[in-house]
């Protein structure tokens, strides 16, 4: 295992049973993700991109193999411990934003901070900074249905970074946006990677989006077409 790797996957297999059929997503997947990397994962539908993202985010467990984060196994953690680990280390950005419709932008961004012991004033400072970072300081009181798709995704980015996680996992973050807005979102992600040192793993179908990443891996039928250790930052 590489000592500097933030993530290390060794011999990961993921299988599940659907009806009478056993479906294998990964047989023996190995990869490392270094601290500060901006990795794009591409591949056709059903290649295992989202499953890989779920394994990295600790929302799914491998059938066998090891998933380590900062040299600590996370594949054996209990559901409760995994939830705590996710809250402390991972920021999630989804294709359809997944904001809470009954909360305004400010409250949506504040949501992950409910899991911390930060004081009210500290939380306020962090939420304001996160919204400022994504250029939505003036939209704090707006409800999700009062904002455009691009603005909602920026709120989702603010929510993902507000608790200062080491890793951002993005599942098709620009899949629901027009080109111009998508580029703005990708520039924001790039800024978070270069200026704030966030490690980013982004699943995308869009080659233009992948260009913003430092490296791109292609998955097909559960295997990397490109060498997963190539160009590890």
């Amino acid at each position: 295992m590489s000592e500097e790797a933030l993530f290390d996957l060794q011999g990961v297999a993921k299988k599940f049973v659907k009806g009478k059929e056993q479906i294998t997503i990964f047989e023996d997947l190995n990869m490392q993700i270094a601290q500060g990397d901006f990795l794009a994962i591409m591949g056709p539908s059903g290649s295992g991109k989202t499953t890989l993202l779920n394994l990295l985010g600790g929302v799914d467990q491998p059938t066998s193999g090891e998933v380590s984060f900062e040299q600590k196994r996370i594949d054996k953690l209990s559901e409760g411990k995994l939830a705590e680990w996710r809250a402390n280390n991972i920021g999630f950005i989804f294709q359809f934003y997944n904001l809470m419709p009954m909360l305004n932008a400010y409250r949506n961004v504040e949501l992950p901070l409910l899991l911390t012991k930060l004081s009210g004033s500290e939380r306020k400072k962090r939420v304001e900074n996160a919204l400022k970072l994504v250029g939505l300081a003036d939209r704090a009181k707006h409800m999700p249905n009062e904002m455009s798709g691009g603005q909602q995704q920026r709120v989702a980015i603010a929510r993902a970074v507000v608790s200062d996680p080491k890793l951002l996992l993005c599942d098709e973050p620009t899949g629901d946006l027009d080109r111009k807005t998508a580029d703005e979102i990708l520039e924001t992600l790039q800024l978070l990677n270069t200026e704030f040192g966030k490690t980013i793993v982004m699943v995308t179908h869009d080659p233009s989006a992948a260009k913003y990443a430092k490296r791109t891996l292609h998955l097909d039928k559960g295997e990397f077409v490109t060498d997963p250790s190539a160009n590890v930052a």
């Binding site: 779920n54 985010g57 929302v59 799914d60 559901e79 409760g80 939830a83 705590e84 680990w85 996710r86 809250a87 402390n88 999630f92 989804f94 997944n98 809470m100 419709p101 009954m102 909360l103 409250r107 504040e110 949501l111 992950p112 409910l114 899991l115 939380r123 929510r159």
Partner: protein, 385 residues
Amino acid sequence: MKDLYLIYKNLTRKKTRLFLTCFAIFIAFLIFGSITALKGALNSGVEMSADNRLITVNKINFTQPLPYSYVNKVKSIEGIKDVSHANWFGGFYQEPANQIVTMAVDPETYFTVYDDLVVPEEQLSQWKSNRRGVLVGERIAKTFNWQIGDTIPMSSNIFSNKDGTQTWQLQIDGIFRGENEKADTGYMVFHYKYFMETQTWGGDNIGWLIVTTTDASLNQQVSDAIDESFANSAAETETSTEAAFNKAFIEQIGNIGLIIFGVVFMAFFTILVVVGNTMVLAIRERTNEIAVLKTLGFSSPRIFKMILIESCMLSFIGGLLGLGAAFVIVQGASQELSRFLPNLVLDQSIVLQALGYMLLLGLVTGIVPAVRALRLNIISGFQGA
């Protein structure tokens, strides 16, 4: 922002649904509060009954008289402490609408058997020595603003006075109250002898006997002995405890307990189905959001707790409003019906019972969606499972 804020926002996200669900719960607790208060008022006579007090009435029914001679015969039965008697007068004050329970009693013994009623000694002495004297209950005195020394015309819709009228001029010698504030003081008592001497018919009879035993454990034995003494006579008796007598009196209009249980059960069962269904649907609509919360790091037990709190909040909002409305209705009704239902109050015990039911309703209606959320797999949640 705290979890409570999140719960509140979830609860209030669909205002119409919140209103309708709360309204259903509101109705359930309005019914519960007012009907339970009514039951309490009807049963207060039973609750206030002394353990060792027995009532002996004519076996045919309690409107039939008993011979006066029974008083002395009963006194000789073993296990009896005191004996008194009373006659129904059927009184009203000035006009028939002002019905007041009025009884002709034996002044020497009545307050001995009813030792839970309090009369100042000097007032009691004055009453005993005044043949036209009457002692009035505190509540009735307040209702009509009567003072000691007032002479009040009491008419009967059953008996006639020898003077050709149906009215007796009685002088208030004292005001009695209960040791317990729930005791019934909505009636008055005057002299049996004066009543017998002035009425035109009815003979030397009494309405019923009031007997106290030396120990409550002797109640059954004494009851049997009294009834056996008068078996096969022209006026057979039926003796029961005061509590049983009062209960039977109330149940002339039906089994109040069963009626109330039926109404409350049906109301609660309906509401349980309505609210439970609403909660299940509301949480199912939020499956994706629950998956998001879990992804962000909210633990399953924390989400479980949030949903249970939400369903309890719903139950308490509707329930407290319903109970509040019941309180207002009961307060209003108690003023209107104070002479007939003196203890019509929505008291602390009803409030505590209602709070318990609110909690139970919240937990029962919340448990299914909460368990579903607890078990929700994040990936299935995003797939809309």
